[in-house]
Amino acid sequence: MTNDTRTQGANKPALLVGVLLLIVAALVGYDASQQTITSTYGVGPTAMPYVVAAGLVILGLSHFVVAFREGPPQPEEADRKALLWIAGGLVFLIACIGLGGGFILAITVVFACTARGMGRQGLLIDAAIGFVLGLVIFLVFAKVLTLILPSGPLERLFL
């Protein structure tokens, strides 16, 4: 494995992580420099962010060094389609809750999309299972725990 990465030059994921760490460090440091409240004695709220930023810079630079040596092991090819199905379900979930579509609809889609992403070929059956699951969870929370999960038009029928 080490030989492979050497022939390719630098390990790209490691370089990328290094850059990202430097960006996070810059963010943390910039935010600390913009703070207005300081402590009169002892250490103020900016000390720790600067320490963390410094640590992140060191780690980022170490990643650059490592990238030219070995870097993290190269993972096998990922199944992008599977990831997209699951991510799609979760994006729908956020939108559905954000726009007031309700809990049950969101759960139906998340269940069906995840099952599909994991390799099942029965979208409608899975959606039905997800729907029942969502309905049961919503009712248990509403009636037993007296906690109302995000509600849309569908949920209001049961309240």
Partner: protein
């Protein structure tokens, strides 16, 4: 004597019907997730955190501990019958256990692991009960500087022992500490890293990070590489019972496994995997029938199984007495304490003796329940493996969503869950351990507070950290632990995995 009285009192608490029920649910769930490959106790407790925040703290914590113990029992079942360890702590068990199962001795293998787990759990829990008060007495004398130094030790050991590379562990840790900075500074009221998003003022919820990294991240990861050969279950043939010969060959490995597991679990040295492999290689050396090793020697199952259970009890020592998590599950359990406003440590023993001793006493009960659940019901657990994986992970995501929405119904929180989930996936893919990040988020703010308190007392003089013998020693240990992995590459094979 005090310990015995406290423990007796604890049993009074643990035998309340409600607590017994929580304990039973815990060990049941724990065994189930232990059996299912890919789902571990850390993930399960993380998923349950948001759902339990309204329940009785003592009961929930008893349940979490039951899940932890149960996971250690359940892991052996898949290791033996499938040659697919459900937890990393059962890797060593699989070596000999699956060979025994193939040779038609699956029954005795399961029996020796269950009874060994029971013996080890019992001894180690007694160790916990007697060691904890001693540590508490020591910890009462700790000043803020000592606590700060202790957390530095935890930071270093957690990031150095999880995963294969200290660099990746430290990266995960520092990102966690950076996340911990988000929100309002408790001492001055200064908002940090909130970028004008009001939802961030309260900081990042530990549960959101834990559920995202462990549950959602795992689902992504499994989905991304799902093309695996289906595993074949080896049916249990013959008697479940151990012969006289089996007993004779098992008892010493049980005790030696316990002797490895408990202290290593209690030290911040990283999880259950190290003692299980130490136990395995020791048994291999001591065994009277060395040629049987590799073909199904019962010692190779008895020792590691005892070691992993003992280490679970060992982990609870620093967790309860110092608030120091030394395994992924312990880190999530610490988050569990915090969601009830409880801070494990010497004060907890003084303020909530009912809760602490009830929890310790319930561990004994959990052990008895587990050995009963595991031996006669083994067929039921094996059938769990028939659940289609897509439904399992879809259910996990539904559960994760439900938990997040129950605590905080905002789309921002869900977006964070999703983002942490994807981060968790990428970290798994590129072999960055996720547990240090959770530890960083939990302990980072605590370490900052202790440091600032210490420096306020010393009027800003940082030398206070080195002038006090305890903090100086602890910082020395931390420095040593940071350098050791680079100095001793040979230890690499004992690196701990998460769970």
């Amino acid at each position: 004597m005090d310990t015995l009285l406290s423990l007796l009192h604890g049993f009074g608490v643990a035998f309340e019907p409600a607590k017994l029920l929580f304990c039973l649910i815990g060990v049941f769930l724990g065994t189930a997730v232990g059996v299912l490959p890919g789902i571990g106790p850390a993930l399960t407790v993380a998923l349950l955190l948001p759902v339990t925040f309204k329940l009785d703290p003592a009961g929930s914590l008893i349940m979490f501990a039951g899940i932890y113990y149960g996971g250690m029992y359940g892991g052996s079942t898949t290791a033996i019958l499938l040659n697919a360890p459900g937890e990393s702590a059962s890797l060593a068990t699989a070596l000999e256990g699956s060979k025994m199962a193939k040779a038609g001795r699956g029954g005795p293998a399961l029996a020796t692991s269950a009874i060994g787990s029971f013996v080890a759990g019992l001894i180690a829990t007694i160790g916990l009960a007697f060691l904890a008060p001693l540590l508490v007495e020591l910890a009462v004398k700790f000043g803020p500087w000592d606590y700060f130094a202790l957390m530095i030790v935890a930071f270093v050991t957690v990031s150095a022992t999880f995963g294969d590379s200290p660099l990746r562990g430290l990266t995960s840790l520092f990102l966690g500490i950076a996340l911990g900075l988000i929100g309002i500074d408790k001492l001055t009221g200064q908002a940090r890293l909130t970028f004008g998003v009001p939802e961030l003022l309260n900081g990042v919820e530990v549960t959101t990070l834990a559920v995202g990294l462990f549950a959602v991240g795992e689902a992504f990861y499994v989905a991304s590489k799902r093309f695996r050969d289906p595993e074949e279950i080896i049916p249990i043939k013959g008697s479940l019972w151990m012969t006289k010969e089996d007993w004779k060959r098992s008892w010493a490995p049980w005790l030696r496994g316990t002797a490895f597991g408990f202290p290593i679990g209690a030290l911040p040295a990283g999880g259950a995997e190290v003692p299980t492999f130490l136990s395995y290689s020791t048994e291999r050396k001591l065994c009277k029938y060395p040629d049987e090793f590799g073909k199904g020697a019962i010692e190779g199952v008895a020792g590691p199984e005892a070691a992993n259970n003992a280490s679970a009890a060992g982990t609870l020592v620093p967790l309860l007495t110092l608030g120091l998590p030394t395994s992924a599950t312990a880190a999530i359990m610490l988050a569990g304490f915090q969601q009830y406003g409880l801070n494990p440590g010497p004060l907890l023993f003084a303020e909530k003796p009912d809760l602490v001793w009830g929890l310790i006493a319930s561990l004994f009960i959990a052990n008895v329940m587990l050995v009963i659940l595991n031996l006669p019901l083994i067929g039921l657990w094996v059938r769990l493996l028939a659940i289609p994986q897509p439904w399992l992970y879809a259910g996990i995501l539904v559960f994760a969503t439900m938990g997040t929405l129950a605590v905080n119904g905002s789309p921002v929180e869900l977006a964070m869950l999703f983002a942490f989930g994807f981060l968790g996936y990428l970290m798994r893919r590129y072999d960055y351990p996720v547990a240090p990040m959770v530890v960083g988020l939990i302990l980072g703010p605590m370490a900052e507070q202790q440091l600032r308190r210490a420096l306020q007392i010393s009027l800003g003089d940082p030398m206070i950290l080195l002038e006090n013998p305890i903090s100086a020693t602890l910082l020395g240990i931390a420095a040593l632990a940071l350098v050791a992995p680079f100095a001793m590459k040979g230890l690499n094979k004992f690196k701990a995995s998460e769970d």
